[in-house]
């Protein structure tokens, strides 16, 4: 695999500007509804505002890769006197928490930068300017990215085991 030019989409997150309104979560979930905008539900959002108003903690985090196992250790960061858990900054959909999973199925979610839109919707809806969008070009190694379905299937394998999953699929296909 050789090097290729790749447009890197970048969201700059300015914690000082966040007003805690969670419009980002709402519109993300609406955009990604099965029928675009037909429903919304922040629990399905691919961005999550970690917030603790009394500690002045406002931290929007985006969903990244799914991971089958949780970390061994949990570190804490103290930044300007505010306490953050390592998990707060983590983008992974992981067994240790309910963030970045479909509430019904438990399937992992991942930010796709609102493919097809001028800019991610969370940025557009953030009038507080906590989220701003940038693009830049980078040279990167060519690689194959797993398709969305494959990511989902892998998560199901991790959750239920390959044999159970195969049995389940077989049962469903008989019914249909």
């Amino acid at each position: 695999m050789g090097k290729v030019k790749k447009k890197v989409k970048l969201i700059k997150i300015d914690l000082d500007q966040c007003n805690g309104c969670r419009a980002c979560e709402l519109i993300c979930s609406a955009f990604h509804a099965p029928d675009k905008y037909s429903s919304n539900n922040p629990a399905r959002s691919r961005i999550r505002l970690i917030s603790d108003p009394l500690q002045d903690v406002y931290l929007p985090v985006y969903a990244g890769e799914y991971t089958p196992a949780e970390c061994m250790g949990r570190d804490k960061y103290i930044i300007d006197g505010k306490e953050f858990s390592e998990c707060d900054f983590c983008r992974a959909s992981c067994p240790s928490r309910d963030a970045f999973k479909e509430p019904d199925s438990g399937l992992p979610l991942k930010c796709d930068m609102c493919e097809g839109e001028e800019e991610p919707l969370c940025v557009k809806w953030c009038l507080a300017d906590a989220l701003t969008y940038e693009e830049r070009e980078e040279e990167v190694e060519e690689e194959e990215t797993p398709e969305e379905m494959e990511t989902g299937l892998k998560a199901l394998v991790d959750k239920y085991g390959l044999d159970n999953l195969i049995d389940g699929i077989a049962r469903i296909s008989k019914k249909e």
Partner: protein, 655 residues
């Protein structure tokens, strides 16, 4: 499928512990929309006039507005309704924050509480799983503290909590329901919650809210999100800073308090300090505000930053919005630093920031006048600020004189007697009002103060300027870009309105025009309170994001209800009339529709009677302020006439 709403209410009988999820009738949504409208209908049906505020049969309803939980910016209001222990009429108070959307995501439009729990409890609503939980460990805890403890206990920082403090537990008539940066404060809702022995309600929801016409709604929202910053960067010239832009008054952002400190009265709505706002004060107050304000914050899905996190060194952090920074300050003739400090304790106790400081200032006036004596204030410190803390502590515990004061100025004055009634000079329908005492009668405000069913001026004023701009040119400029008016005649009313001369107060705007202006402003509030849209983006500021000409489209697209301007106007009128009828059942009549006697120095009794006559006519009430048979029939509420007839309430007469 139901759109915008979930179609279910959660009913909890606290006496028996019975919990039910009840499907609602979509026809009621068509008639009353939701929020305050459907709350009022439930209260009408199930809480007849015989039911007292602290009866187990009184209901306490927490409702999301129809559009809460949809992508509509600023649609996040929780409308709390019950019977007020203070006014004995319907109490409704709204709060922003995150509670209403979370309730919707949990699958409910409303939470309806009836009965009384034998022990102090809190409710845990987690989607379909609803529990009544022991709250004995939370007894006496502050409202903010309670919310934090519950979040820890439930191990979920995303739980939304509405809680009462000590004041609510002790059924103080000024008790509020606190929720983060927001609160439902007026009219004693917290006292009813305390009477039901519910310390707090915790909600978490992870379900979908559906939209009828998704693309149209999102397009509409994008226009709103473009309009808001554009409108905010073009403040309206010639009005005080908090009225120039959008939002509920941005008291947390704005330092310039010249208007409030010099025009509102200090103490027990008593003294005006006309030259208060000096350069020194301005600098000192600015420094105070900036030193305690950690961050400006918003409610759910709203770009306006009307609230703030307040951290005063040495005391716990809390959140504040709107006007409470000034109410304690001015009642105590103190400064802003005191205001921020005592508001922290008041927020934990959970009391209304409007009424509470006035009750305390009232008590100290009685003390100065010798009506109350040292015996009534054992151990009260001698310094002014110390006295306010001392009184606050007594009121929320109902200790000694605090027990009398805890019922508010009106009831306390009557209990104390000995001429104390004379010092009750700023209540309407037994409820404390903004501390304003002015000179020339303002006919628009006369009607709004007198007739507002919420008994609270900020819940009725709004879209029409409070005063004419000095020159005709300025007024013409203002109306050029004013698509918000329901009819072009309002532009004419404004352009022709002068500060002095024939076209000035009290005889201009004319009686008819005055009633129409009030009707428009009031209608917008009733629409917001049904939809759950914050007044700060709609009925309160000049030239807001939402108005009578764009809301029908939005309702149709979001809720799938066929809506137009006339139909929406009629719904607002129906809701307003329903609440009036509820209160009429509890004895409300024309004689109660009066502002405080000394609100204006120059009064015009004959004109005031004409104003009330015409307002009642326009609203479809008879001369005693009772909705007529004919208007109730038009509004499809014949059931009210039938009830009036049974109770011997005469609602004949021309409307």
């Amino acid at each position: 499928m139901r759109y915008a709403e979930t179609g279910y209410n959660l009913e909890i009988d606290l006496s028996s512990g019975n919990i039910e999820r009840v499907e609602t009738d979509p026809e009621l949504t068509e008639l009353y929309l939701g929020g305050l409208g459907t709350n009022a209908k439930i209260l009408w049906d199930r809480v007849p006039p015989e039911v007292e505020p602290f009866s187990p049969d009184n209901l306490l309803i927490f409702s999301a507005g129809l559009l809460c939980g949809t992508p509509v910016p600023g649609a996040n209001r929780t409308i709390v309704s019950t019977v007020s222990p203070q006014t004995l009429f319907m109490a409704f108070s709204m709060m922003g924050g995150f509670f209403a959307p979370e309730l919707k995501y949990a699958g409910y439009d409303k939470l309806i509480l009836r009965g009384k729990s034998p022990d102090l409890v809190y409710l845990w609503i987690n989607n379909d799983r609803v529990e009544i939980r022991d709250a004995s460990h939370l007894q006496g805890k502050g409202a903010v503290e309670t919310a934090e403890l519950i979040k820890q206990e439930l191990e979920d920082p995303r739980v939304q909590v509405a809680a009462i403090g000590l004041a609510g537990e002790n059924r103080v008539y000024m008790a509020s329901i606190e929720h983060g940066r927001s609160s439902a404060s007026r009219l004693g809702l917290g006292a009813v919650m305390g009477d039901k022995r519910v310390k707090a309600i915790a909600v978490r929801g992870t379900k979908d809210i559906n939209i009828a016409r998704p693309t149209e709604v999102v397009e509409f929202c994008h226009n709103i999100l473009e309009y808001i910053p554009e409108r905010d960067s073009n403040p309206i010239p010639g009005v005080m800073p908090i009225l120039a832009g959008l939002g509920s008054p941005k008291e947390m952002l704005i330092h310039d308090e010249k208007w409030h400190t010099e025009n509102f009265m200090w103490g027990n709505a008593r003294t005006r300090q006309k030259d208060y706002w000096t350069k020194d004060i301005e600098e000192k107050w600015k420094e105070t505000q900036e030193s305690v304000r950690t961050r400006l914050i918003s409610c759910y899905n709203c770009p306006m930053k009307c609230g703030a996190i307040i951290s005063v060194p040495g005391i716990s952090t809390y959140m504040m919005k709107c006007f409470s920074k000034l109410t304690y300050t001015m009642a105590a003739y103190s400064d802003l630093e005191f205001g921020f400090k005592i508001a922290q304790r008041a927020t934990e106790y959970g009391v209304d920031g409007f009424s509470t400081p006035q009750v305390m200032a009232f008590a100290l006036e009685l003390y100065e006048a010798g009506i109350l004596t040292d015996e009534d204030f054992p151990g009260m410190p001698p310094d002014n600020e110390g006295r306010f803390y001392w009184l606050l502590d007594r009121i929320v515990r109902r200790e000694g004189i605090g027990d009398v004061l805890a019922d508010g100025v009106y009831w306390a004055a009557r209990k104390i007697g000995k001429g104390a009634e004379e010092y009750d000079h700023n209540t309407i329908k037994k409820h404390e009002q903004l501390p304003l005492k002015l000179s020339m009668l303002n006919p628009i405000y006369f009607l709004m103060w007198a007739t507002g069913e919420k008994v609270n001026i900020t819940q009725i004023e709004g879209n029409f300027p409070q005063a004419p701009f000095p020159t005709r040119e300025e007024r013409e400029e203002f109306v050029k870009d004013w698509p918000h008016v329901p009819d072009d005649k309002f532009k004419e009313y404004f352009v022709n309105w002068e500060l002095r001369g024939e076209n000035a107060f009290p005889y201009y705007p004319t009686v008819e025009a005055t009633c129409e202006i009030v009707d428009w402003q009031e209608t917008m509030h009733y629409i917001d309170d049904a939809l759950g849209i914050c007044a700060g983006l709609s009925s309160f500021p000049l030239k807001p994001a939402y108005h009578i000409n764009n809301l029908p489209t939005l309702i149709t697209a979001a809720a799938g209800i066929d809506m137009d301007k006339d139909k929406l106007w009629e719904i607002a009128r129906r809701n307003r009339t329903l609440i009036r009828a509820f209160n009429v059942g509890r004895g409300l009549r024309r004689k109660d529709d009066q502002p405080p006697e000394n609100h204006w120095k120059k009064r015009f009794p004959e004109l005031e009677e004409q104003l009330l006559d015409e307002y009642y006519r326009l609203k479809g009430f008879n001369n005693d302020g009772i909705p007529t048979k004919e208007s109730l029939h038009q509004l499809k509420m014949d059931y009210i006439s039938e009830d009036f007839e049974k109770r011997g309430i005469n609602n004949n007469g021309q409307s």
